[in-house]
């Protein structure tokens, strides 16, 4: 007998494999052309066939995503602390940030190309600006929602603003920061792939675009699958990190363990 726990663990795999089988069956039954919707088996075949190119371009994407993400975490984290700790900074900057965040990031890419040319830099910057916002918002929220009673306890002990920030503000903001990382990493990925598609000659986005312009549809799909897998892996890494760093915020629940 399979225990419920193992079943919970296996479920995502079962669903994924099920979807692929469904896709395969759909293609066989409808007899759809492979340059419209290739069968998954063909996609995997293509993946193996183009393994070196795919590896090269994925690594490039991984690099730009990670670089943009790290910048986003550092910059977003710092700005989040300033915004959350000071009402004045909050009032001044928040509307600007919201405005900035509502610009579709793909619209920035042409500007970045003018400034930095085609290649790695626009991808990193796009990943950075797109992953930046959720981190700022989360960190600021963590700081701004300190219980007033707790603040009173510290203030009447004679704690300085800095002490309140380091003793309760920052530790309290940690779960908020780590919760935002999994959103941010997926967004960073979206950012770098978009930028590579529009303005690069390297990276998985570029690979898909060039495959599509030569009608190599199976390779386009191979790229999509790789993008999805990388996204899931990065998300899982972020979740693992979150668990490790802020276990106390989960109060012993065993989800995702």
């Amino acid at each position: 007998m399979m225990s419920e726990k193992t079943l919970i663990r296996l479920m995502p795999w079962l669903v994924t494999i099920g979807l692929f089988i469904l896709w395969e069956l759909l293609c066989i039954v409808t007899g759809i052309e492979k340059f419209i919707l290739p069968r998954p088996t063909l996609v995997f075949e293509t993946m193996v066939q183009f393994a070196p190119q795919i590896a090269h371009h994925s690594l490039q994407t991984l690099y730009t995503t990670t670089a943009g993400f790290v910048l986003g975490v550092v910059g977003g984290g710092l700005l989040g602390v300033f915004i959350g700790a000071s009402r004045l900074v909050y009032v001044g900057l928040y509307p600007v940030l919201v405005g900035f965040n509502s610009i579709p990031k793909v619209a920035l890419v042409p500007v970045l190309v003018i400034w930095f040319g085609i290649g790695t830099v626009p991808a990193i910057i796009t990943a950075f600006v797109i992953s930046f916002f959720p981190i700022v918002v989360n960190v600021a929220t963590g700081l701004a929602t300190i219980e007033p009673e707790l603040r009173d306890v510290l203030r009447s002990l004679g704690a300085s603003k800095t002490e309140i920030l380091t003793k309760i503000g920052l530790p309290r903001a940690m779960p908020y920061l780590f919760a935002s990382l999994k959103i941010a990493i997926t967004l960073a990925f979206v950012g770098s792939v978009i930028a590579e598609t529009v303005a690069s000659n390297e990276g998985i986005g570029y690979l898909m675009l060039s495959a599509s312009s030569s009608y190599n549809v199976p390779l386009v799909f191979a790229g999509l699958v790789v993008v999805a897998v990388m996204g899931v892996v990065m998300y899982a890494v972020a979740v693992w990190f979150e668990r490790r760093m802020t276990g106390w915020a989960f109060r012993g629940s065993d989800l995702m363990s």
Partner: protein
Amino acid sequence: MQGPAFVKIDGVSLVYRQAEEETLAVEDLNIDIQEGEFVAVVGPSGCGKSTLMKLVTGLLDTTAGRITIGGKPVKGPVQGVGMAFQNSTLLPWRSTLDNVMLPLEIVEPHKRRLRKEKKAYIEQAMALLKTVGLADFADKFPWQLSGGMQQRANVCRSIIHNPRLLMLDEPFGALDAFTREELWGVMQALWMEKKFTSILITHDLREATFLADRVFVMSKRPGKIILSKEIDVPRPRTLDTTFEPHFGEIVHELREHIHSVRES
């Protein structure tokens, strides 16, 4: 009354201003508290008890009147005051022991000495935890403790640095009756040992009578003191004490005043 008051609240009023609206929360409060005295303030919900507490600790500025502590006027947050609230406000990322030791990281002279004399301070904190029956839970995190245990830890945190003034704002309000009465005993024992000047805010008349030397009854908003009652019940008081006729009479008298307040 003996000597000058340690805490002197002299004709104090407070108005909350929010946008256009003005709320007179407390009006013309006059309270003198001797050093080492345990006083309780009771009154209907919303009458300004918590406001009074914020005024005394300097977290709020008075609109009129003045407050002095140890002869010095209160301006800005008074340093080194111990505080405990209804919700325990323990830090979830710290163990019980580390939570209790938090004030030592902030209040001088402990802050300065903490690193060098860490061992002695830990011993001191452990001894305190032991007196409230939490020695075995020092390494546990707040969410691993029951509500009553969290409140014990919370009380320990408020007195670890031997505060000149202890402020308790309905610290046992969220607990069940049994746990609450148990903690009265714990609180009384701690106070009898260390004798810090304490102000307890509560809406439980038996709690006030059990713990305090003097009970002040506040009217509904705007809060004024309408009765100051000396509690002449010998210490240590026990749960049996609460069933004695004299204890009952005092509680009854307080209750009648509260009632007259609510009906007026």
